[in-house]
């Protein structure tokens, strides 16, 4: 298999050099996309080798948004580091916090009270809806339709408003604390949340009507960027990307955390592994998130929203890797504690990093017109790739 990779890389380099006798020398165009190309989702850059309109090789270049968060983490206390976690995948900030707080709690052997767990689930799922709305809008833009973008963002605004009621922030929340959440659910939240969910279901049906069944969109997205299940696992893909490739795998189901096993919901999956499936999986996931929120709102237990934690958080020496289902896939935190108030080492594993790693493999032999769609279907956020 090692040879396979090497061969792939070599093959392409050789094509341009070796010419059959009597043939014209094949000439390729090298074109630079990014770092501020309109559809690279932030500051992602790659150099593509084109044969006409066909991409034969790309070389991704990342790191434009590198902030050294892992190094900063080693120099800050556990609590001070928490707000930075929001800045990784800024469309799904709650899910990052979720992972980090769970990891630290597990290191300290404490557990959030039931009410806090339910609030966390509500937040995480609301944020998942937000992130997927952004995806929906971006997907529309990439396919050349402008309307879905505004539809998605209009709806996202309402979800953000709900989270603003809870956390006070709109994009980066810093709402979860180690051992619970920062404040209780405000009065009036339940009614607004229920109204929102009702509206959201209507809107989702409208999205499907506007965009999912569109003939041109289906033609554009079906059968491009196909990833088989084996390849997806081999490339460490996770989240909706993996699920679209025919694996009904969700960390919320496999390693249930924070009471996800109490709710009744399904894991959407696709069986073609193409862009359209990835799109549909995300759209269906939004409906499932709404289901979870509904149940969590109804069964929100009474009690504390925070457990008692020491004033200075000093987990005992130890290490663990903990993962949660982020909005884009598996968000993992590998934390090594040496017993002091600062983590000895924090490694953040983000899904987009692995998805971009596979980009060369997926983009090969597709057209330039497909690249925004394929890249968009991974829903990469450069903040979480570069860290």
């Amino acid at each position: 298999m090692k040879n396979k990779i090497k061969n792939e890389i070599q093959d392409i380099d050789e094509i341009s050099e070796i010419n059959e006798p009597g043939e014209y020398p094949r000439d390729y165009m090298e074109i630079n996309f990014g770092p501020h190309h309109p559809s690279t989702h932030g500051v992602f850059r790659f150099i593509a080798k084109l044969d006409g309109e066909k991409i034969i090789k790309i070389e991704p270049i990342i790191g434009y948004l590198h902030r050294g968060i892992e190094k900063i983490g080693e120099n800050r206390t556990y609590v001070q580091f928490k707000p930075l976690v929001d800045r990784l995948d800024y469309t799904g900030a709650m899910n990052n916090e979720f992972g980090y707080c769970l990891a630290v709690e597990k290191l300290m052997n404490i557990e959030a009270p039931l009410k806090a767990q339910a609030i966390r689930v509500i937040c995480a799922e609301l944020n998942r809806i937000c992130a997927h709305e952004v995806f929906f809008g971006a997907m529309g833009l990439e396919a050349g339709a402008f309307t879905p973008f505004l539809f998605g963002f209009k709806d996202r605004e309402m979800a953000i408003h709900l989270m603003e009621m809870l956390a006070g922030g709109r994009l980066t929340f810093n709402y979860f604390t180690i051992g619970g959440v920062r404040q209780d659910v405000p009065a009036g939240f339940f009614k607004e949340a229920k109204d929102y969910l009702k509206q959201f279901k209507k809107n989702l049906a409208e999205y499907h009507e506007l965009f999912s069944g569109n003939e041109i969109f289906m033609k554009r997205t079906k059968g491009i960027g196909v990833i088989s299940r084996e390849d997806a696992i081999e490339w460490s893909m996770s989240g909706p990307t993996l699920r679209a490739s025919g694996a009904r795998f969700d960390i919320r189901k496999i390693e249930p955390y924070s009471g996800y096993d109490k709710y009744d919901w399904e894991v959407p999956a696709g069986n073609n592994g193409d862009v359209y499936d990835r799109y549909l999986v995300r759209m269906n996931e939004m409906a499932q998130s709404a289901r979870i929120i509904e149940q969590a709102l109804e069964s929100l237990p009474d009690g504390d929203y925070q457990t008692k934690v020491p004033r200075i958080i000093k987990p005992p020496a130890g290490e663990l890797y903990l993962r949660v289902e982020g909005t884009k896939g598996e968000v993992g935190f590998y934390i090594v504690s040496d017993g002091t108030d600062k983590p000895y080492r924090i490694k953040i594993r983000t899904p987009s990093f692995n998805h971009l790693n596979a980009l060369n493999h997926v983009l090969r032999n597709s057209y330039i017109a497909d690249f925004p769609l394929i890249l968009g279907s991974f829903d990469t956020v450069m903040g979480s790739v570069d860290r």
Partner: protein, 325 residues
């Protein structure tokens, strides 16, 4: 007539056409913003004047007042001439469009043929802009545009032949006059469909806006253009939209029929045209973009045979009807 009166008269006509074009372009841009805005739960321009009607005027003034940037390493003359060549055909076409029974700047026998020939010229401007800009995105956009226009020119022209057979004339005014009894959109429904679709493709309108697909190749052929050169491309795009819709109205929707009074005729003609433009904008705010190869397949393998079949059937029917009479 004394020669200078004739010259003045011609110049006056040209001035009116020119003014009309600018006004049309401005109105269309404003209309596009408003239509798309309201379709997307937003208001569109709001601030300058009532409902923001001066917005596009200021935008145009801003574009005209900007610095004329000519990048390094370009093919200078081609670069400079490309927007002008994009604009001139659109301008010229207007002289042949009849707005009412006798309201046409230049009325001659093969005006339809001439209009279609002029529309095809805009290809060259895309190629020139793409080639001269010294930018790979522009190059891809220009080549896409050329490929697209060539393949859609053919079904576009063929679809009008059905109308020409039925009307027995290439003069636009006479084609309209021949539609007294029935609009050609009814017997020529296939032709109308082909004409409108290919027309949208011809002017790079969504869903066929591959030459300037902003998510793929930044802005396509006009990536390197700014200021009034960009404005020329931009205005030409909207003028072309008007022309295609006006042509569709003249050929298929009965032009100014059922009115003959000049004022009513012009108003009727414009209303019909603007309804078609609204449809085009509706399409623009709904559909995503095609991919180039799918789009070419659609053109060559579906549109072209369909338009040929349309001609064949029309000819057959017209001949039979003649024989029976």
């Amino acid at each position: 007539m004394v020669w200078w009166i004739a010259l003045l008269w011609a110049l006056l006509k040209l001035m009116i056409v020119f003014l009309f074009i600018f006004l049309t372009a401005l109105i269309l841009i404003y209309m596009l913003r408003k239509v798309m805005g309201h379709m997307q739960y937003r208001m569109g321009p709001r601030h300058h004047g009532p409902h923001g009607i001066w917005q596009t005027v200021f935008d145009a003034l801003k574009l005209l007042g900007k610095e004329d940037i000519i990048p390094d390493g370009i093919d200078k003359y081609v670069y400079i001439w490309a927007p002008i060549i994009a604009f001139i055909p659109s301008l010229t076409v207007f002289t042949f469009l009849p707005f009412a029974p006798k309201l046409v700047a230049a009325n001659f026998e093969i005006s339809l043929f001439f209009v279609l020939a002029l529309l095809g010229l805009s290809t060259i401007s895309l190629l020139m802009a793409g080639w001269s800009s010294n930018n790979k995105y522009s190059l891809i956009g220009g080549i896409r545009g050329a490929a697209q226009l060539i393949s859609y020119e053919i079904p576009l022209v063929l679809s009008t032949i059905g109308v020409v057979i039925m009307a027995g004339s290439l003069n636009l005014t006479e084609i309209v006059n021949a539609q007294t009894r029935i609009w050609y959109a009814i017997p020529q429904i296939i032709g109308f469909f082909i004409f409108f679709t290919c027309g949208l493709a011809e002017i790079n309108h969504t869903p066929f806006d591959m030459p300037e697909a902003e998510s793929e190749i930044v802005s396509g052929f006009n990536t390197e253009y700014s200021g009034f050169r960009f404005a020329a491309f931009f205005l030409a795009e909207f003028v072309n939209l008007f022309i295609i819709c006006a042509l569709a109205v003249l050929l298929f929707l009965g032009g100014w029929k059922p009115f003959t009074n000049p004022v009513a005729a012009v108003i009727c003609f414009l209303i019909k045209t603007y309804i078609l433009i609204f449809v085009a904008m509706w399409i623009r705010s709904t559909f995503p973009r095609f991919r180039l190869d799918q789009f070419m397949n659609f053109g060559w393998k579906f549109m072209l045979p369909l338009s040929l079949a349309n001609i064949f059937i029309t000819g057959l029917v017209v001949l039979t009807v003649d024989k029976i009479r």
